[in-house]
């Protein structure tokens, strides 16, 4: 057996284990619930419009927001649109399902990180600040 084969087999085995892991995660109630509410949110025209209303306001204010140069009235309108979006039933259902799923993913990633000596989320380019 060539040395490249000896090195390649465990790498391929790990990639297959990753796919098996993904399949197991996809079968969990948390992931299936998340998929369901995500699709429902995506098809919720009222929620999509509310999100667009909020984003368009935020975009219009643009640099003024970063410079903290927005009037009280504009800021209040932005917050109103944000609140409207976040309190919609489909958005709250999505947030709740996402919270359940992220808890599960954090738990499994934590186990992996502890065992391999590398922080999974941090290594894959994701910081707590995005």
């Amino acid at each position: 057996m060539h040395s490249t084969d000896v090195n390649q087999m465990p790498l391929d085995a790990a990639r297959q284990a990753a796919r098996d892991f993904a399949a197991a995660l996809a079968e969990t109630p948390q992931f299936q619930a998340f998929e369901g509410v995500y699709e429902h949110l995506r098809q919720d025209a009222v929620a999509q419009q509310a999100l667009e209303d909020y984003r368009s306001k935020a975009d219009a204010l643009g640099a003024l927001l970063m410079l903290n140069a927005v009037s009280d009235a504009e800021r209040a309108e932005l917050e109103r649109r944000k609140h409207h979006y976040l309190t919609l039933d489909s958005v709250q259902a999505y947030a709740a399902a996402e919270l359940e799923l992220t808890g599960l993913c954090q738990q499994t990633a934590g186990l992996i990180s502890a065992a391999i000596g590398v922080n999974y989320a941090a290594s894959c380019g994701v910081s707590c600040c995005g």
């Binding site: 990753a18 796919r19 892991f21 992220t102 600040c129």
Partner: protein
């Protein structure tokens, strides 16, 4: 692993299998070996501790506007010592190789799930 008691059995087994598979790959075997060599090398570890302490001190000085040219030269000299230390460089390179492979693994997972697993696994607090 008490935490696995809360996971569905299939996910628990898949997680354990993924862990064992990762640990058996060349990048992670090399990283484990480099980590063990670093742990056994007191001089290398002392060098890293000095570098970390100096960097923390210079960050504090920079905040107060107290940093001097001599401070920067001390930092450069210490960094040069670290970069010339074989144990440390081997550890850093092996860690990067392990991280690179882990990113490939994350992509495999994401392609099947349709979402980025690492993003979902991110801790919510800084």
């Amino acid at each position: 692993m008490n935490d696995t008691l809360t996971l569905p059995i299939a996910l628990q087994h898949a997680t354990e299998h993924l862990i064992q598979s990762l640990r058996a790959t060349p990048p992670f075997l090399a990283y484990q070996q480099a980590q063990a060599r670093l742990d056994a090398d007191a001089a290398a570890r002392t060098l890293l501790d000095h570098l970390a302490a100096l960097q923390a001190e210079l960050r504090r000085k920079q905040t107060n506007g107290e940093i001097t040219q001599a401070d920067l030269e001390d930092l450069r000299a210490l960094r040069a010592q670290v970069e010339a230390n074989g144990t440390i460089i081997t550890y850093i390179n092996s860690q990067q190789a392990a991280v690179n492979f882990l990113r490939e693994i994350n992509q495999e997972i994401g392609q099947l799930l349709g979402v980025d697993f690492a993003v979902l696994a991110r801790q919510s607090t800084c």
